[in-house]
Subunit: 154 residues, 4 copies
C-alpha cells in the first residue's frame, strides 16, 4: 500500500509534467497514467511533429523527448516507492534535483502511427542515481524505439 | 575542391532541413551553415521550448533533437565528401536512406542561454554506417550537451 | 523448423567463439548454448578476473566483454533465422562482416558471484545492421549488468 | 600547483591500478602516466588478447576494458583537481565510491597494432557524478575506439 504522501507527490508531478511544462504543451504530450508502479506517456500524431513529409513519420526528436520524459518520471516513481516514510519536503527537494545525466535512444522502426505510448522500468534504483529503460510503441503495438537513461534523483 | 554536384546536394539538403521539415519549423531550427566541412545548426530560445519554468532552461528533448539533426547532417556531409564522382541520382538515393540508428546524449550543464548552436564531426566514416560526435554550446560558449550518434548512410 | 544449413552455421560459430578466440580462452568464456532462439554465454569467477580485491568483484571489463560477445552472437542468430534459404557460402560471408559498431553497458550492481550468465534479444533485425539488448545475471539471478549493442551483420 | 595530498592520492591510485588489480595484470595493462592533468593507459598486443585470429586484431572486450579504466582514472583525477583542500581520508573515501555507472563504446576501426594507448577528458565534472570521453589510438596514431562514460565519484 502506498502512503498518501507518496500518492500526492506523484499526482503533483504528473500535473506539472502534463500541464506546466511549455515544451510538453507544444508537443501535446499527455501523462495518461502515473503511479508508483509506472507511467504511461502519450503523444498523438499531428502535422507539426512530422520529421519526414514523404513518409509521414514522427521526428526522431519527438521520440527522444518522449523517452526522456518517461525515464525521468519512472526514475522518480522508483525513488518515491523506495521508502514509505518520506516527508512532503523531502520529496519536493528530490524533485528539484531530478535530471537526466545521459540517455541512449535506439530507433528501431519508422515512427508511423496515430498514438505513441511510452512506458518504462527502473533497472538500477539508487538513492542518488537511477537507471531506467524505456519503450515507445504505436497504437498497433509496433515497437518503435528503445531507450536507456541515467537520472540524478538525489 | 568540391564538385558542383556535391555542393548542390548539400545545398538541397540544407534547404529541406531548414524549410520543409515540420518539426524543425515548430522549433525554429535554423541551418546556419552547411558544406562539406561541417554544419552549424541553431535554435533560439523561446518560451515554448522551456522544460523547467522555474529555471528557464531549454527542454532536454530540444537538445536531443538539435544534436540528432546535427549528427545526421554531419554524417551525410561526410558521405558526400568521401567521393568526388557521385551522380545526382546516387546522392538522392543515399538521402532517402539517411537515418539515425542510435544516439547517446550527455546533458552536461543546464540549457541556459539565448542561442544554442550545434556542431559535429564524423569519427567513423563508412559507406553504410557512420558515427558522429556532436556538441551543443550556448552563445557564451558554455558546453551544454554532447552526443554520439550512429547513422545509416547507404 | 530450422534447416540443417542454419543449424550447422550456428554450431560452427559456437565452436569458434568457444574454442578459437584467444581472448575467450584467457577469460574462460563458455558458449553454453547457441541456437536460432538465442545464446547463453557463461564465465566462472576466477581470481584473475577480479577488478576490486577488497570486494572480490568481477572487473567491469569482463562484464563488457561478455555482453559484447552475447550481443554479436544474438545478432548473428537473428540474421540466420531471418531466412531459411541461406547457402553455406552466404553465411560464411556474413560471419566475416559481423562486428560491433557501438555498445552501451549499464553496470547495475556489483559483480559478485560464482557464475555469470549472459543472454540477449534482437530488438532491431536488419539485413545490414541489427540492435540487441543483453543481460548479465549471476547464479542467484541478480541482474548485474544490462547492455545495448549495434552490430554490423552484412 | 598541486598539493602533495593530491599528488600522493593519484600516485597511490596509479599504483593500485597498475599493480594490484588482478584483471589489469592478466591483460598487461600499464598506467604509463597519471597526474591531475590526465592519464595515459597502455596495453601491448599479445596473442592472448586477440579477438579474431584471421585478422590478428585486439578483442573488443580489451578495448572496452581499457576505455573504462581510462574513464574511471580521468573522472577521479578531475575530482581530485576540483579542490586543493582535500584531506587524505576524504580522498580515500571517494576512491571507495568510484565506479562506472554506464559506458558507451564506439568501435571505429579494427584494433590492429602493437601498442594501444588510452586517454581521456572530463566533460561533466560533478561532486557526485562525472562524465568523461575517452579515446584509444594505436602506435601509428590510428583512432581505434571512442568512449563516453558516466562515473560515480562521491
Amino acid at each position: 500500500m502506498t502512503s498518501s504522501i507518496q500518492d500526492q507527490a506523484l499526482k503533483q508531478v504528473a500535473d506539472i509534467f502534463d500541464q506546466h511544462v511549455p515544451f510538453h504543451n507544444l508537443l501535446g504530450l499527455d501523462i495518461k497514467h502515473y503511479d508508483i508502479n509506472g507511467v504511461e506517456v502519450v503523444i498523438k500524431m499531428k502535422p507539426e511533429l512530422i520529421g519526414n513529409i514523404h513518409q509521414n513519420i514522427l521526428h526522431g526528436g519527438v521520440t527522444a523527448t518522449l523517452l526522456d520524459v518517461v525515464g525521468g518520471l519512472t526514475a522518480f516513481a522508483g525513488l518515491v516507492a523506495s521508502r514509505d516514510d518520506w516527508t512532503v519536503e523531502e520529496l519536493q527537494q528530490r524533485l528539484t534535483t531530478l535530471g537526466t545525466i545521459d540517455m541512449r535512444v535506439d530507433f528501431l522502426r519508422p515512427g508511423r502511427g496515430e498514438t505513441f505510448t511510452g512506458t518504462g522500468t527502473v533497472i538500477r534504483a539508487g538513492n542518488r542515481v537511477s537507471v531506467c529503460k524505456m519503450e515507445l510503441h504505436n497504437e498497433l503495438g509496433t515497437h518503435i524505439a528503445f531507450g536507456t537513461g541515467t537520472y540524478m534523483v538525489g
